[in-house]
Symmetry: C2
Subunit: 149 residues, 2 copies
Amino acid sequence: MPKLDLDTIPQTNATGYPPEYAGAVEGRWYRRLGSASGLNEFGVSHVTLRPGAWSSQRHWHEGEDEFVVMLSGEAVLVDDEGEHVMRAGDCAAFPRGEANGHVLQNRGDADCVFVAVGRPSASDCHYPDIDMHLFEGQGFRRKDGSGFD
Amino acid sequence: MPKLDLDTIPQTNATGYPPEYAGAVEGRWYRRLGSASGLNEFGVSHVTLRPGAWSSQRHWHEGEDEFVVMLSGEAVLVDDEGEHVMRAGDCAAFPRGEANGHVLQNRGDADCVFVAVGRPSASDCHYPDIDMHLFEGQGFRRKDGSGFD
């Protein structure tokens, strides 16, 4: 049925990041609402960040738009322009190809929740703060192209 | 900048519905966040329903996925399966081609606010309750194909 029962949708904190960069997202618990409900034009993630958790490593996608709306709690959006507090109802948009790395960080002592919209990564993704790059079709590698091991 | 200042984005209650069906959405005030922020893979509308207002006439799209997340207040989601109260944090998904007409109705005495995601209509859209149909490339007409006038 169209109204979603979130409790019936599996929640995971899985990540494809290599171990040295995975700690930041260990407390990021998400549900894939789009695929669970039959949407295939865009993905929708329902994300809870535990205290200390980040939404991702700071990044920007060459080929995928992203949109975020906060539902509860508080996070800090960090991008090239500075830090911006995000609270329930606040929205942020990240057009594809705009070279402004972004991340939401939960710096408080309570969970925060947001919904993120965007297609799965199918293009290069840039990580300005760390020695990692998502190469189209090759997954995560160091910026020089060598693998993590 | 990625974080959106909603107050700077124009708000409108415009509709393409013919006058006999436009009354239901007169109290639907929305901002097009996606186009205002440079997104073009999907649209994002930030919608306030005044008391009595509907999100649309009850409808379903042949070719466009839709997703809704409530931000504040309360609305009733009406679809073929019945009525479902939607409150802050509740989500609903409407896969393209699924013949289950849906609408959010504000039956309370306070505003409600939600975000809706989906591409602009480029396919036929069905309105099970009224004598209207969106014909691909032709706009709104009566179900027999005749125009409104």
